[in-house]
């Protein structure tokens, strides 16, 4: 079967693709941070409760309090990149989603369950059942993450698509794709690292100290360090599992991709070192650009995967500028209002404390 003949014809785009690429990368970066925080926090909280040591609740409690907010923003920040992704790669993503439609649609139900679970977990007055609840939330989020990995993998591997002819019922998952598991693990580990470091940093920030000997800091940075350490074997596995042309893309095939990849490795190692040294603030300042690098590498990986079928230059542009001006105005207005509202909120919190 000629795979290329299956690829749908994309609609035109209203601006040159770099605009959308820019918005996609920017908003995906924000989403990735929030999503990592959400997934990592839930796993860490569940794991900490299982440990049942005295200090376990140090991490559990702040996570419980914050999880509903984190989920709200993780979802919201996911909307924008999903939008821009559809603008550039909709013809790939709609197709892959349809192939795994049943699972893909189930994401909605699973998120609602996890979300309500987070509220119950946060506001339940007794401790009874909370371990079960947070474990369930963590598992739900893990499943959701897995389904996202499946879809994002399936959308860039049209070679998997002929499975439609035997799975038109929307129950196909690219389970046999060698990249799937290492890719998934790579994301789960990064979620643990980001969440661990975030809660550690928040603890430190609150106490206005860079001391890492608080239990909170210690615990969080440990999650950060070990998760990042585990990225080494998982990363190698991931790299090795990539189709050869894609792997070579990062090994000199594309200068830009190779530089990104090298920078990503260096930053990750620096993260590891700071994690080992339990230096929270430097770790934070290294982790943020590392995440951005990972987003860019991921984007390059998609480009390399789809290279034989599609390049963004193929998209036809029917230019329309006024809508982006309108959007920018809304964005600026929204940002001003966000700052204003946060200001009022902080003011109220401070007054309340007084």
């Amino acid at each position: 079967m000629n795979i290329s003949s299956l690829i749908p014809v994309p609609d035109f785009i209203p601006l040159d693709w770099p605009w959308f690429q820019f918005f996609l990368i920017l908003t995906f970066f924000l989403h990735l941070l929030a999503m990592n925080l959400m997934l990592g926090s839930a796993i860490i909280a569940a794991a900490e409760r299982f440990k049942r040591h005295d200090k376990a609740l140090d991490l559990d409690k702040p996570i419980a309090k914050r999880l509903p907010f984190i989920i709200a923003f993780a979802v919201n920040l996911g909307v924008a990149p999903l939008l821009f992704l559809q603008v550039l790669y909709g013809h790939f993503m709609y197709t892959s989603s349809i192939l795994m439609a049943v699972y893909w649609l189930s994401v909605i139900g699973l998120v609602i369950l996890a979300y309500y679970g987070a509220y119950i977990y946060a506001y339940r007055k007794t401790e009874d059942g909370k371990t079960f609840i947070i474990t369930a939330i963590a598992l739900l989020l893990l499943v959701i993450g897995f389904l996202f990995t499946c879809n994002m993998t399936l959308m860039i591997t049209p070679e998997n698509w002929p499975a439609y002819f035997t799975h038109a019922n929307g129950r196909f998952l690219p389970l046999k794709d060698p990249v799937l598991i290492p890719r998934y693990l790579h994301f789960v580990l990064s979620a643990l690292a980001v969440a661990g470091l975030f809660h550690a940093a928040l603890g430190v920030w609150k106490k206005k100290t860079d001391q890492t000997d608080t239990s909170l800091g210690n615990n969080g940075i440990k999650w950060f360090f070990y998760a990042t350490l585990l990225q080494i074997p998982v990363g190698i596995w991931f790299l090795a599992a990539l189709p050869r042309p894609v792997m070579l893309w990062f090994m000199g095939g594309s200068g830009y991709a190779t530089i990104l990849f090298a920078a990503g490795m260096v930053y990750s190692l620096v993260c590891l070192v700071f994690g080992f040294q339990k230096k929270i603030k430097p770790a934070v300042f290294t982790l943020i650009p590392t995440v951005m690098l990972m987003v860019l590498i991921r984007d390059e990986m998609r480009t390399a995967y789809l290279n034989t079928y599609f390049v963004l230059d193929d998209l036809v542009v029917k230019p329309a500028f006024s809508p982006v001006i309108f959007f920018s105005a809304c964005l600026i207005f929204g940002a001003v209002m966000v700052v204003y509202m946060i200001k009022l909120a902080l003011q109220a919190v401070q007054e309340d404390k007084k």
Binding site: P8, L83, T95, L105, I112, Y119
Partner: protein
């Protein structure tokens, strides 16, 4: 086409979209109106200095946050997921055209979340003024979200000038943008009241509860009035076709539109009752019931709006099945299988026909139709059809059923789809073919002695292809009866047509004397025919029975017996459409037989309604309308024309079609401004039977030569001519009738003509209008001056009046054309499938050969001597040309 189709069955047909969307949209509207409700209720609390109201507001805000942010927010993403799964192409259009609209909406969504968090978590902790600012900001962002989504949703129904320009703003601020925005805003406020009532019903303090229930009731009643006003505005902003859909053209909508109206009243009355009558006692059950009613309200509105868009998903831009109208021609030429990306079968073979049909179903039908499911289930909708019927139904889609897109693809693909639905989904087996017709030997003919006999009688009947339709308990197409005519000729050098002193009688052959035993006509004849008294059994409407006397008609110069009741059901022989009548002329005074002959009075019930309308044949698996078929036909008529014919028939009050649809359009019967019967039937069905040959005619009429009647049996049929040679294709035929009715401004003519294209001529303008029964193709169209024809098409030149019809015409000398040439559709030599010479009895009796009377210069048959002048019509002195037809005997 572009994308793979998620093959759903029970959950298909858009059900998933409906479920997620209605749930989400309900909450999403609440999220807007509820924002206003929170701020105003908080202000009310402050103004009245009531901590109870402020506490209520905070509790309501908690409930509001949990509901709108979690269930509401996530199902919003859910709609996006599900539309992308079921309508990827349309979703792609919305995303690519309005990406920055969506993006702006995302910004407001973000601000909404933040504002709501702050509003709730700082309730009572923030300075009053600031807190209200946060509340107002929340409402602003929520409403701006509505503003943006409304633009895009309204775009799908009324894209307006975007269709030409593709301009973002023209698409966004489309014709229904503002009315829809106001409508939705009022709806949002109503829902705020309903949800407010729900939380208020939990208040324990009676006074506070009374206060708040009354307050919430006002939220329901006041905006409802405004909402109903904006409904009119909304409807007026829609294209006429879409408004028509909503106002009843789309049967799918009717229950929802009615639901919307009823629920409006319920909300109003409940609100009123809650406000005035029993504010303190408004209980939780009522609140929950109202909540459910609110959901139904939302559902009805959304359903009506969605269905108003039919057959498009984006009005006039993309059909519901994601095919663009602009692709139609290309798909019809190349085939849907070759055009669609995600099908493995590019060619249809006998082996893959059902599978290919299944894929076509998913490509073209599944967007709206489930299989054994809850949304537009395809199974009950297609239950009656045979493969032929299903194929014809698909043929007619988008023509008369304007709420469905046309079928797009090749005829072979259409047939594969029909087979998949009938044989694959309904598991119907191929129909058992009718048994072969048994030959019925001819009884001996009366003797004729060319030297001795002084008289000869020639007889014929008036009906050609028309049959009786024995659906009497349900409806009557036309009164039963066959008109028999005869001319008695006194032989001699100057023969004479005898009109006096003769008793001319007719008598049906044995077995056919009791038609009332086989059809129900006489049970309903009195009412149907406006008679003063019951019609005697086996008597026709003019008083003639199966045997009797004929009267001489000066105008037609022949003896006649009109409306002689005759059916094709004989006692002992089963279905037999060619009963023989014996015609006898006797001297009035002496009673001596002057002449005697036999003729066939054809009558068939092999009317193929069942092919599309379901049900079995009524008799012998070859003819007759079964009750099931008759019922289904009325059900369709009722559905399409908002009549109640089926119910009336079930009550024992069947109607005759002539009650509303006149016979020819000229007579006074029928309803004013309504299409005459022939036009209504041909015009309607032609839309389902386009692009076909004479098989289109034989799908209803008994003209199929492999059928049980083969009514087209004259010399022309033997020579290979078909219905089309004289009447044109079904489209041409229908258009000629429709044009006549259109010229009289009859209702519905335009609608039926819209999708019909003529095939025998190049444009509709070239079609000559005609009245049914009165204007038919003339024999002389081809046989110019009675010469051998140079063309084989008699179509489009009509007799001016019924006087010019073959069956009514007379040659020079007063002899009727049919007397020598036989009955219409069976002109001599005719070949009958039941017995070869059944229709040729008179020429055989009088001249030993089946050719027309007097053919081969046999003038002596009447004149006793040879004649040298072609008196009756020119060219009659020549020899019969197509002797090979007879030689083959």
């Amino acid at each position: 086409m572009n994308y793979p189709v998620w093959e759903l069955t029970t959950a298909g047909g858009g059900l998933l979209i409906a479920l997620i969307a209605v749930f989400h949209v309900y909450i999403a509207h609440f999220a807007v109106g509820g924002g206003l409700f929170l701020v105003l209720t908080e202000i009310k609390g402050h103004r009245q200095g009531s901590t109870a109201i402020l506490d209520y507001t905070k509790r309501h805000a908690w409930f509001f946050m949990l509901l709108t942010m979690v269930a509401g927010g996530i199902t919003g993403v859910g709609i996006w997921f599900i539309i992308a799964l079921l309508h990827p192409s349309a979703t792609s259009v919305l995303i690519h055209n309005f990406v920055f609209g969506w993006a702006a909406e995302w910004v407001f969504f973000f601000c909404e979340i933040l504002a709501l968090f702050i509003y709730y978590y700082t309730f009572g902790k923030m300075e009053k003024k600031n807190h209200l600012i946060i509340g107002w900001l929340y409402f602003l962002f929520a409403w701006l979200s509505l503003f943006l989504i409304n633009g895009i949703v309204a775009f799908m129904l009324t894209p307006g000038t975007w269709l030409e320009t593709g301009n973002f703003w023209q698409g966004f601020f489309n014709p229904s943008f503002w009315p829809s925005l106001f409508f939705r805003t009022f709806l949002a406020v109503i829902f705020a009241g309903i949800f407010g009532l729900l939380t208020a019903s939990f208040i324990k303090d009676r006074e506070v509860k009374k206060n708040l229930v009354r307050y919430c009731a006002l939220w329901m009643i006041v905006p409802l009035v405004l909402l109903l006003l904006s409904t009119g505005w909304y409807l007026s902003s829609l294209p006429r076709e879409a408004a028509d859909m909503i106002l009843g053209k789309n049967p799918e909508i009717i229950p929802f539109a009615k639901g919307f109206i009823i629920i409006s009243a319920v909300i109003f009355l409940t609100g009123l009752a809650a406000a005035v009558k029993m504010p303190g006692s408004t209980g939780k059950p009522l609140a929950f019931v109202l909540l459910a009613i609110g959901l139904m309200y939302m559902g009805s509105f959304e359903w009506v709006r969605e269905a108003g868009r039919r057959p498009y998903v984006i009005y006039q831009h993309m059909y519901s099945n994601a095919i663009m109208p602009s692709q139609e021609k290309m798909i019809n030429a190349n085939g849907i299988l070759k055009t669609a990306r995600w099908v493995e079968y590019k060619e249809i073979t006998e082996d893959n026909a059902l599978e290919a049909g299944r894929r076509i179903f998913y490509l073209e039908c599944a967007a709206c139709h489930s299989i054994d499911g809850y949304s537009n289930d395809i199974l009950p909708l297609t239950k009656p059809f045979t493969v032929f019927g299903m194929d014809s139904m698909l043929n007619g889609l988008g023509r008369i059923n304007a709420y469905m897109p046309p079928f797009m693809g090749t005829d072979q693909e259409r047939l594969a789809l029909a087979r998949y639905i009938v044989e694959g989904l309904h598991k119907k087996k191929k129909p058992v073919p009718s048994p072969k017709v048994n030959q019925v030997p001819l009884e001996p003919l009366p003797l004729f002695d060319e030297n001795e006999d002084e008289y000869l009688v020639l007889a014929w009947n008036s009906l050609g292809m028309t049959c009786i339709i024995d659906s009497y308990p349900f409806w009557i197409l036309m009164p039963m009866g066959n008109t028999i005519s005869a001319q008695l000729i006194r032989r001699g050098e100057l023969p004479e047509i005898v009109a006096t002193s003769v008793d001319m009688t007719y008598e049906v052959e044995k077995g056919f004397e009791n038609p009332s035993a086989s059809v129900d006509f006489w049970r309903f004849a009195e009412e149907l025919s406006d008679l003063d008294q019951p019609l005697a059994l086996n008597t026709g409407l003019t008083g003639n029975s199966t045997s009797g006397k004929m009267q001489f008609n000066e105008l037609s110069n022949a003896y006649e017996a009109s409306k002689v009741p005759v059916t094709p059901y004989s006692e002992g022989k089963g279905y037999h459409p060619y009963p023989v009548f014996t015609i006898t002329a006797r001297d009035k005074t002496s009673g001596d037989i002057l002449a005697r002959t036999k003729m066939v009075a054809p009558v068939s019930t092999e009317t193929g309604c069942r092919k599309c309308h379901g049900g079995p044949w009524r008799v012998d698996n070859r003819a007759g309308i079964s009750d099931e078929t008759a019922r289904e036909i009325l059900a369709v008529h009722d559905r399409k024309n908002k009549t109640d014919l089926l119910a009336e028939a079930e009550f024992g009050r069947p109607k005759t079609c002539y009650t509303c649809h006149s016979r020819s359009g000229q007579d006074k019967a029928g309803r004013e401004n309504m299409l005459n019967l022939s036009t209504a039937i041909h015009g309607w069905h032609a839309n389902f039977l386009t692009g076909r040959d004479e098989s289109a005619c034989s799908s209803c009429h008994p003209s199929d030569k492999n059928g049980s009647t083969a009514c087209l049996r004259g010399v022309h049929a033997s020579m290979g001519l078909t219905c089309i040679n004289c009447h044109g294709t079904l489209e041409d035929h229908a258009l000629s009738l429709l044009k006549h009715e259109k010229s009289l401004n009859k209702k519905g003519a335009d609608r039926l003509m819209t999708h019909l294209s003529p095939r025998e001529v190049s444009s509709v303008e070239d079609i000559n209008p005609r009245m049914p029964w009165e204007q038919e193709p003339d024999c002389l169209n081809c046989h110019l001056d009675f010469e051998p024809p140079e063309t084989d098409s008699a179509f489009n030149i009509w007799t001016e009046t019924s006087a010019g019809l073959f069956k009514a015409r007379t040659g020079d000398g007063g002899i009727r054309c049919a007397a020598c040439h036989g009955t219409p559709h069976a002109v001599y030599p005719a070949f009958n499938m039941y017995a070869k010479n059944r229709d040729n009895m008179q020429p055989i009796q009088y001249q030993g050969s089946p050719i027309p009377l007097g053919g081969d210069r046999n003038c002596a048959v009447c004149h006793r001597v040879e004649m040298d002048y072609p008196l009756h019509h020119p060219n009659m002195e020549k020899m019969f040309r197509n002797t090979y037809l007879i030689d083959e005997e």
